[in-house]
Structures are given as structure tokens and as C-alpha cells.
Symmetry: C2
Subunit: 203 residues, 2 copies
């Protein structure tokens, strides 16, 4: 799709802004969007050029058209099915986060190795024994996993997932996974995010 990562990030934030507008706000200017995000409005206009957006006029962007252009370009409707690995606090929080489905992420089931958790249902998602994942990923045609296990077991669990046919891992653990090249890992580095925050803080 050829949109740089940072632009995808900003476009999703623009979408949040449009989503939060009142029903009667039909147009929005790049200046208004830029001001809310504390960025330059030329940046906003540049990002919007990545879209197939036709709703631009003198008073600004047509809100509905811009929203749907973002949704189309970033693939909100292209559903990706995923499993959550780890039914602990973070895994459960993500399982309860219903907004994901608006952006094309559908959580089908969860996996854990704790007998007390197996068989429970979190927000409609059943928790299965981790050893069942190979079977279920094949049956449900799921190749994406969201990894939320404790740090100590992250690497081993990830290897196990790779063996079970998982090809995409969204990694929420503070661990760098060592996996075969055909498995793509996306690190959700909360620690790094906090450290960036800290290092950018001039106070």
C-alpha cells in the first residue's frame, strides 16, 4: 500500500478526530486537525494525499468522505482474525477491547496453559489449552497471534506458535523473539514508548 508507518499512525489519529466530531460538523480543515495533534498543517495535507479522497472544498474536507477514504486506504474492512496468547491481565484487557473489530481485527479465541483459565470465557472468547492451537489455527484459518504471556515464557511460547503455523505475532512482551524468518513479528514496545516519552521531555 506504500504508506509510511508514521503516516498510517497519523491517519488513524485523524480518523479518531473525525469519529469524535458532532453529527452536524460537515467539514474540517487541515488546520483544525493539525492543531489538535500539535503538528504542522502541511503534514496533514501531505498525509491526506495518500488517500483517494475527493471531498475537498474551500471550507475544508468533507468529514464523511475523508473518513471513508481513510477506512478504505488503511483497510478497516479487511478483517484479520487473530488469537490472543495469554489470558492474563493484558490478554483479557485486549480481549475486552471491542473497538478492535471496527478496525478489522477480530479475536476468535484465547490460549493459556493455566488449567484454571482453560475453559473460561472472556468477553465471548473461549480460553483453550495452548496445545490446541495448531489444530484450531488450521481449522479456523488463523495465522496471527497477539502475544501477552509473561516475559519469561515469551520466547518459548513464540517458538511454539511458529511450529503451530502462526505467521504473524503482535508481541506485547518486553522480549525480542527469535523466530524463523517466515514469521513476522511486530513489537508493541510499551517500555520503549515510555522511554521515548521520558527522553522527549525537556522538563
Amino acid at each position: 500500500m506504500n504508506i509510511p508507518d508514521k503516516a498510517v499512525n497519523r491517519l488513524s489519529l485523524y480518523h479518531f478526530i473525525l469519529d469524535d466530531l458532532r453529527e452536524d460538523e460537515q467539514y474540517i480543515s487541515s488546520t483544525k486537525i493539525a492543531q489538535l495533534l500539535n503538528i504542522d498543517d502541511s503534514q496533514v495535507r501531505k498525509d491526506i494525499k495518500y488517500l483517494d479522497n475527493s471531498g475537498k472544498c474551500r471550507v475544508g474536507y468533507d468529514v464523511k468522505k475523508l473518513k471513508s477514504a481513510i477506512e478504505k486506504k488503511l483497510g478497516f474492512k479487511e478483517q484479520r482474525d487473530a488469537f490472543i496468547i495469554g489470558a492474563g491481565n493484558l490478554g483479557s484487557a485486549l480481549a475486552k477491547y471491542d473497538s478492535f473489530s471496527d478496525y478489522g481485527l477480530k479475536i476468535l479465541a484465547m490460549f493459556d496453559n493455566d488449567p484454571k483459565k482453560i475453559g473460561t470465557v472472556i468477553n465471548g472468547k473461549e480460553v483453550f489449552d495452548l496445545t490446541k492451537i495448531g489444530n484450531l489455527s488450521k481449522r479456523l484459518n488463523v495465522n496471527m497471534a497477539i502475544l501477552t504471556v509473561p516475559r519469561e515464557t515469551a520466547k518459548g511460547t513464540a517458538l511454539y506458535l511458529a511450529g503451530a503455523g502462526i505467521k504473524y505475532i503482535w508481541n506485547f512482551t518486553p522480549s525480542v523473539l527469535d523466530l524463523p524468518k517466515d514469521v513476522k513479528v511486530w513489537n508493541e514496545n510499551l517500555i520503549g514508548s515510555f522511554l521515548r516519552f521520558k527522553n522527549n521531555d525537556e522538563v
Copy 2:
């Protein structure tokens, strides 16, 4: 500190790698780090140049020295105190995430407006009535808040936090906050992260 955001992110991942090494692994090469992250080793060497790191020799970087150089440069020991706003699933998950303290983030208390949650204790952090935050932020000298409330109440809660003296908001809600310029917001955009994942996926 003048380290670009992306380098801070990568340096924190290098630290995870060093942390996970066996006790007897005394040296690590830039090639090994690069290979684990699927990046170029010149990138690793460039990032490490931001540090005051003396432990480089023929066989690679001295693990202990490199670790401590990262810790020093990224300020792991400089503690930031913070409150978690919202004692729901994500707020509770973050409150239970003890690793934060290793990187200099200390959660002192939580706030919510649900009478059923107020007074409870999550991983040693008491949940207070949100109206108490102005008082407590002054008394404990806390100016950072981690926002995990539902999307619908995000903007209003953030404004309330600003009024109560909070100057830094780590925003986990899918909402762009509209705040006075003296409040710094850091968006932890999980939706954007998933959309980047999706858009980068060539399959």
C-alpha cells in the same frame, strides 16, 4: 538528550536482548543484535554511538557495560511517578505490570469514578475517587497520568486532569485529546499500530 524516537525504541529492544542473555554470555556482536531484530547491523552500531559506551572490543560489545550504558542514557534510574486513570481492564493490566519500575515508571495510585471500584486495591495501588486527584497530585508531586478510560469519556477526563495539575498524559484511548498547550500528550495508539502491521503486510 537528543536521541531520535526510533533509536530510543531500538535501544530499548537491544536492552531486552541483553537482559535475556545467559549469565555466561559476556560479549555480543552488532550482527547478532541486528539479526534478532531483522535490521541492518550498521543501524545497531549507529544507535550504540548515541551512548557513552566503552565496552567495545574485537569479539563484540561487553554485555554488562552496554546494558548499563543504555540504562544510563535512556534514564532507567530517573524515576517518574504516575497515576493510572481508569481502573478497568487495561488500567488494571498496566497496574499489575511490575516491569515498569525497572525502567523508571512508578505507579502510585489509580483513579476511577465507579463507586464499586473506589477503595479497592490493585497490585498494591489504591483506587481513589477521580475528584481526589487534584489534592493527591499536589501532595505526592505527581504530574503524569496514564489514561485508560473508555473512549466516550476520554476528552472530558483529560480536561479534568489538566485542571487538576496534570502536565503529561500517556493516552491509551482511541481519542485525540484537546488540551491546553502546557499539557503534553503521548498517544499510545494501539489501533494505529495494528493498522501499520496490516499495511506493511505484503501477503
